[in-house]
Symmetry: C2
Subunit: 330 residues, 2 copies
């Protein structure tokens, strides 16, 4: 059997089966945004890593090295945010073709270090190896107070489903980049949203310090796919109210301009790095007040497991089609 | 300027310049085997990562997946050993061609997890991505008591220079593998030494619990190159007594059989993952007693910086030629 037959999430399931389950001081292992290790005095260690490979995650023809470094840091910071934690230390593995320009490597580090510094992260080590394709694997260590920890697995039927910021901007930005056209005027912000996303660490910190989110995940694979992860780990169903999804103001314009379905960006686009989380309904108003600046939208609710994943639109309830980027699918 | 013009160590220097120096709770940053973060109660957090790329670090034509997984874990464990620490948690980034057989991925995890378990390491997370070439980037978190911490930078003139086990076995094993011949009888042990090295965690723990090594590094790039790293970080010179280098008993045989210089294996072979360390001379006998089982050999001494790196042979003192694998050199 080949990887392309079981897909990325089949592979993760396979790996998970072969590795000892969490237990002892390992509070959270494979299957969440970061691993969580119980430490002393109520502090937990967070560990996470994410890799970007040229031709798979990005295309150097439209990705400047500075933005690439930024993004490698951002996707990892976003994982730490979704646990309610703070990031502290980074290890950087770079695989570089020997013909790479040294100035480009410096730009990459400036992007990575610049975003890291903004959130108090220090690059403390790494490995540099020769590779036929450019790749960056970044690992982060961070910390969370045990009482602030939020995983993917705590959502309960009746909880409200919320998302920060807007969705679809990154997918629309990518579509513009792939189109290779001169962008329509004023679209640079969208492209920036794709190339240099801002992780929601501040927002997560505000949430966990003041409220008790029951489950949280960052939107990297797309709203539909990431909701399916959260629902699977929590063993619940969920409903999205489609009209409520907070679309990036320009995503609709891009969909029209490129003749694409808006769902491609809003439900399946991915890489928005917004936070998707669940809360008891009586905490929703308070949460909206806390995240007034970034924006917070109630987009659905958690259902009992037997109801599965549902997309409601104009009063009709349809099964949510779950798809998104799969690294190994045919 | 291209990477191939400045080489791997030129690149590391460049990266180091662009990243804030250690300070505050970061006791050791880029430029040692692991990063070291001061923790609470005298415990320090160790963080390290090392990547293996197909066609660069290994050749799938003679590397079984199980051994590949073992080695990815071993090279990282060896870095933790050289700081005097224990390893605890691993994150695994796998880049896999979509046509990879799922059974091979399971074997890889078995090799990695098997060696990890032996030393108390748990795999707690990772990332799986599609990649045109097979690659493994493993990150480890571990721990060391601050009073047991050994870095590359503490060697002082007059210190004795010692190495555990034997050298040249891995290089000789690799030469046999590359030759592709049926191996001469009894050479499987050498090949195994290359494919599945045993990191010296137990030996390091014995050393730091009982003695005070002034500097330590693991031999991954070869005795000459790794000694040059230790000397550079300690700002000292060093002398190797060539006749004293503990050669793997079969390395000489392989050198003769393949018509290779023995120096290629003993000084420049690399990947033996033995510990190279320095001690005040009055602790050498005690150290030998502690490491009787593994073997420990006095192979030289630390010199004042102005004397540089010296290789002594039959009473003659020559400058030590430093070379080894460079990822980006022409």
């Amino acid at each position: 059997m080949k990887l392309k037959d079981i897909g990325e999430f089949g592979l993760i399931g396979l790996i998970r089966k072969g590795v000892p389950s969490p237990g002892g001081e390992v509070l959270v292992g494979i299957g969440d945004d970061t691993a969580v290790i119980k430490g002393e005095g109520g502090n937990c260690l967070l560990l996470t890593c994410d890799a970007l490979v040229a031709g798979v995650h990005f295309d150097l023809s439209y990705t400047p090295y500075r933005e690439l470094g930024w993004k490698a840091m951002a996707v990892n910071l976003s994982d730490v945010a979704s646990m309610g934690g703070v990031a502290q230390y980074a290890l950087v593995t770079l695989g570089l073709p020997p013909g790479t320009d040294t100035a480009k490597v410096e730009e990459l580090y400036q992007g990575m270090g610049g975003l890291g510094e903004r959130f108090g992260v220090r690059i403390v080590g790494g490995d540099t190896v020769s590779s036929p394709v450019l790749l960056i694997s970044l690992a982060l260590a961070g910390e969370v107070r045990e009482e602030h920890l939020v995983t993917r697995s705590g959502a309960r039927p009746g909880d409200s489903l919320l998302v920060t910021g807007t969705l679809g901007g990154s997918g629309a930005g990518l579509a513009l980049l792939k189109g290779g056209l001169p962008f329509p005027q004023g679209m640079e912000r969208l492209v920036r949203k794709h190339l240099a996303p801002l992780p929601r660490l501040k927002e997560a910190a505000l949430l966990v310090a003041n409220l008790k989110p029951s489950a949280m995940i960052d939107i990297s694979d797309g709203l539909a796919l990431d909701l399916s992860h959260l629902a699977a780990e929590s063993r619940v169903g969920a409903e999205i109210w489609k009209e409520k999804i907070p679309l990036h103001p320009q995503a609709k314009e891009v969909a029209r301009f490129l003749g694409r379905s808006l769902d491609d960006f809003a439900l399946y686009g991915g890489e928005d790095y917004e936070l998707l989380f669940t809360l008891p309904p009586n905490q929703v108003q308070r949460a909206k007040g806390l995240l007034k600046e970034t924006g917070l939208t109630l987009i659905g609710q958690i259902l009992p497991p037997k109801e599965g994943l549902v997309l409601s639109e104009e009063g009709r309830r349809l099964p949510l089609v779950v798809r998104g980027y799969d690294h190994f699918s045919k």
